[in-house]
Amino acid sequence: MKIRRIVVGLDVAPHSRPALEAAAALAGALDADLEALFVESDEVHRLAGLPFARELGVSSAAARPMDPAVLERTLRAHAREARRALAEVAAPRSLRWSLRVTRGSVTEEIIAASTGADLTVVGARRWTPEAARFARGAPATIIVLPHSGRLGGPVAAICPVTVAPEHAMALAASLGDALGGGLTILVLAEDLAEAGAWCEKAGDLLRAMGRRAGLEIVRESQPEALQAALERLAPRAVAVVAAPPAQSS
């Protein structure tokens, strides 16, 4: 499949920057357009409007009152910083890029923006229920970058058996190329026989492409098993593979 449009979701969280870099690397490798979405959380705005609103520093734990006007300025500065960072990562790769700033629920805004995108990239500290919400909610494929730091390293692809192996393998191979590192595909299935057949086909495809990847079957009904597998693999990036937009529509 050809990935033409990549959406990256950004907010004030520190893991936005690795997500941006990963998205830029992918866009460069796959020759896709990069659309960035900076979401100002409406919850923060409401908090700042409260008369007693205070903010505790993430590392100092020092409390200081919140002021809506200051918050506005801070968020605008974050947005400017996001634009600068985007330009910085895009320039060496000659990417076509755009940045949009919205206000609302971070998850919902990003899911909404990913409509029609071939790939959506968001950052997260680890595989959390929120990350799972992205995976479920986004109509296109989503990548979650667990830890801050450089790219390169193991990549895990979560792939339901409902997605055609050809599509899954092509996407996984593209991601492997773009992100570097070994690829492990976690096949989500309930029917083990079906999963076995899927894996066999995927293996053939990998061999045909001259690639190597690990294949593990995880029961869809056991999210804790998925969690354990991810902790064990400690991937730098988790790709949740969904059916291509054309098929799902």
Binding site: V12, E43, R46, G49, A53, L56, S59, A63, R125, E231
Partner: protein, 816 residues
């Protein structure tokens, strides 16, 4: 009244003690065996043998004597013999001290092992470079590291999430803000807006705020826990790193420890390396990667030794091949740093940095366990070198410290390398004067240099020593790859040896001079196409050498011949005599006649030395002139005052005069002036005189005679010319063959004298006269005239002292 000895000149045979080639029982020196001993240096050799053999503190050697005697060669030959018998000293290295990085640790290894140890350490680092990264690549490591990092992340987030969950239970949301977290009340799963909040009752608002304050406290507590949790995680990662690389590192280092098990310090160093590698295992993962250091954006090169892995290098300071014996080191530039070693620096962006790999060995390190030979003058003239030498000898350890550091002038980061124990014997080679000055002025010197090897400058000349000398010539000729010398040539060399010694009865043992003469003779033999060096070649070499150096002598001779310098070689004149002096120009000396004149008059001034008054005379010359007053008073004026003012001068002397060798000539001129007895100008005289009128030996007698001879020869030898010399100098005569031949032909004479009377008789051609039993000099004798003149002076002085003449009686009463 006669002076029977005075008229007898020396016979030609007494003027030059020749060496008869027939007395040498060989045709050429090729037949002679090498002379393995040292000619004429028995005392010095015994001292060296004693000094070298004496294995006690302070028994270091000072080899003293003039240049060119062969002190270095003789010392080295003895040291080489002894060095072979001694054990080869240890190798020494400097390694990093992990406990005190600015104090590199010194390691001693058996001779020949230092290089091996350096290679072993290099190999260890290479093995660790491959072994440690592969240990980090294992699944086990990755999994465990992930566990630790995940655990930290999980605990951190769980702490925050649990507070978030607790807050949610109270209807409060934990909201992420741009730089932290905040709490806000919720309404229908959404953060409450201000309007909604104000709509709450006051009690409710207060309740919410209290709940939020409590939650904030809890969150602050959780955040404060984070650094502790991070430290804990880091410690766990360090422990993990140690465990993971431990197996690899321990195996490799244990292997090395087994190889050096007998060397405690090396084993201890390896143990500290072991610990350090485990602590810094990360350094081995990507040692070449990472960002280059920059300063103001300019890349700064990082030396290998400064990198974390550079710390495991070995700086081999000094190494010896096993079984090579004790080292003998001659340091010809004994600066402070060349002796104690130096710590070099690298310039980095205008600053100077150093490390233990930049410690360089000095002469002390190289000579440790053996012998160090130094030139005394060079050590003494190099700033702080003498002090460094003494300090090292006293403390018996080498402390490498740069001068800048020692004087507190260097502001760069410095090192203090661990001192290395020092066991060396020092041989100083120098002049005698330095030895005696050091003895007098440096209290430590006698303690440190207890053995003096005093080299002789000459040996007694005897038939057996002539043969030894010939063997020395043979040895030098072979060593220098020169032609053999025939016996005629050897005889000439022996004669020249005596001339160089300044004594017909001695032979100079200045080996450098002999070697030079041999080389030059060989050159002339080669030029003449001869296979063997003969007497003619030696003569050519000597003549050429003299010719090269005689420009000034010839210029002086020319001035005398042309009458610019007034020296008579014929006729006679009262109060004037030809004295003789020696001009020393570097190694070349030549004799030169000087006109000495004396004028006398009545007075109290005594004998006035014009040279002294004009500050052209040295103290010895002044002393010689003062003796003359003593002689005059004691000989001629015992019972009356010496009422004389006499002036003595070296005519046309513009460059100063020193020595008392002209005092006899000055006395003769003075007596001649007093007696008004003319002196022969065809003669010259040299010799010093004492208050009794005895003529004493002087130096440079050969040069002085030849100097006057050359002038006479240039003007034409008349047969009346000659030189009067002290009889004590007769044994020193080794005159040029040309002079001897002139004497043989009766055209020149050399008169030995023992007293001034003898000299005066020869110069004046009149008897000088001796007192008879009644104490009177014979009538007409020079001495009588001197005595009468001085008596007349004294009477005149007494007359002056009596006051003005008394008015005569017959003048009384006459009108004025």
């Amino acid at each position: 009244m006669t002076n029977p000895v005075s008229a007898a000149p020396l016979a030609p045979a007494q003027l030059r003690r020749t060496c008869d080639p027939a007395s040498l029982a060989f045709a050429t020196t090729a037949e002679l065996e090498d002379f393995g001993e040292v000619l004429g240096q028995a005392r010095a050799v015994e001292a060296i043998r004693f000094g070298v053999g004496m294995e006690r503190d302070g028994y270091n050697l000072y080899a003293m004597g003039p240049e060119g005697i062969g002190r270095h060669t003789i010392v080295r030959r003895h040291l080489e013999k002894k060095a072979l018998e001694r054990a080869t000293p240890s190798d020494w290295c400097y390694v990093f001290d992990f406990a005190a990085p600015d104090k590199p640790r010194a390691l001693e290894l058996p001779a020949g092992d230092a290089s091996r140890f350096r290679q072993d350490m290099q190999r260890l680092v290479e093995d660790l470079r491959t072994g440690i990264p592969s240990a980090f690549e294992t699944d086990e490591y990755r999994t465990r590291l992930q566990e630790i990092e995940g655990e930290f992340e999980r605990r951190h987030e769980e702490a925050i999430e649990s507070i978030g969950e607790k807050a949610k239970g109270q209807g409060i949301a934990l909201v992420r803000t741009p730089s932290g977290f905040g709490f806000a009340p919720m309404h229908e799963d959404k953060v409450m807006g201000p309007d909604e909040f104000h709509a709450l009752s006051e009690a409710k608002q207060k309740e919410v705020q209290e709940a939020i304050a409590a939650l904030e406290q809890e969150l602050a507590k959780a955040i404060h826990e984070v650094p502790r949790m991070r430290r804990e995680a880091q410690r766990k990662v360090r422990d993990l790193n140690r465990q993971v690389v431990g197996a690899t590192v321990t195996g490799l280092i244990e292997e090395l420890k087994a190889a050096y098990v007998a060397l405690g310090p090396v084993v201890r160093f390896l143990e500290s390396v072991h610990e350090d590698v485990l602590d810094h295992a990360e350094s081995f993962r990507h040692p070449k990667e990472g960002e280059q250091r920059t300063l103001f954006g300019i890349p700064v090169p990082e030396p290998e030794s400064e990198s974390p892995l550079g710390r495991y290098q070995v700086n081999v300071l000094i190494e010896h091949a096993a079984g090579s014996g004790a080292p003998i080191v001659y340091e010809d530039n004994p600066t402070h740093d060349n002796l104690v070693g130096r710590i070099e620096h690298l310039a980095q962006m205008g600053t100077l940095v150093t490390n233990f790999m930049l410690i360089k060995a000095g002469a002390f390190h190289r000579a440790n366990g053996g012998y160090l030979v130094l030139d005394a003058l060079k050590v003494l003239t190099q700033p702080f070198a003498w002090e460094a030498l003494k300090r090292a000898m006293r403390s018996r350890e080498i402390r490498t410290e740069s001068l800048g550091q020692m004087l507190g002038l260097a502001s760069t980061v410095g090192l203090k390398p661990e001192p290395i124990p020092l066991d060396q014997k020092v041989v100083l080679v120098g002049e005698r004067i330095l030895y005696y000055l050091l003895q007098a002025y440096d209290p430590e010197f006698p303690e440190l240099f207890k053995v003096a090897a005093d080299f002789e400058e000459d040996i007694e000349r005897a038939p057996e020593s002539d043969l030894l000398y010939a063997r020395v010539v043979a040895t030098i000729a072979r060593r220098e790859k020169l032609r053999a010398v025939d016996r005629g040539g050897v005889a000439r060399l022996i004669e020249q040896g005596a001339r160089a010694a300044g004594d017909a009865g001695k032979l100079s043992v200045a080996m450098q001079e002999l070697t030079d003469l041999l080389r030059e003779s060989d050159y002339f033999a080669a030029a003449a196409g001869r296979e063997v060096v003969g007497a003619a070649d030696v003569d050519s070499a000597l003549a050429a050498r003299e010719d090269r150096q005689s420009r000034i002598r010839e210029r002086v001779g020319e001035q005398m011949r042309k009458g610019t310098l007034l020296i008579d070689t014929a006729g006679e004149r009262a109060g004037q005599v030809n004295g003789l002096s020696v001009v020393q120009l570097g190694e070349f000396a030549f004799g030169m006649p000087s006109r000495i004149t004396a004028r006398v008059r009545l007075g109290y001034g005594g004998v006035v030395d014009i040279e002294r008054e004009a500050e052209l005379g040295g103290p010895l010359h002044s002393k010689g002139v003062m003796i003359l007053s003593g002689y005059l008073a004691g000989r001629y004026c015992v019972d009356r005052p010496l009422s004389l003012t006499a002036t003595l001068v070296f005519e046309q002397n513009y460059g100063g005069v020193e020595g008392d060798s002209a005092s006899c000539a000055e006395l003769c001129a003075l007596l001649s002036a007093l007696a008004e007895a003319p002196l022969a100008q065809s003669l010259a005289i040299t010799g010093s005189v004492n208050q009794h009128g005895d003529v004493q030996a002087i130096g440079g007698v050969n040069e002085k005679i030849e100097g006057f001879f050359d002038l006479c020869k240039a003007r034409g030898l008349t047969g009346t010319q000659g030189v009067v010399i002290p009889a004590a100098n007769a044994r020193h005569l080794m005159l040029r063959r040309e002079v001897v031949e002139a004497v043989e032909a009766g055209r020149f004479q050399v008169y030995p004298v023992q007293s001034v009377d003898e000299a005066l008789a020869i110069l004046s051609g009149q008897p000088s006269g001796e007192r008879d039993p009644l104490g009177r000099f014979p009538a007409g004798s020079v001495n009588l005239r001197v005595e009468q003149r001085l008596a007349a002076f004294a009477e005149r002085v007494l007359a002056f002292a009596a006051g003005p003449p008394v008015r005569k009686d017959w003048r009384r009463g006459r009108p004025r």
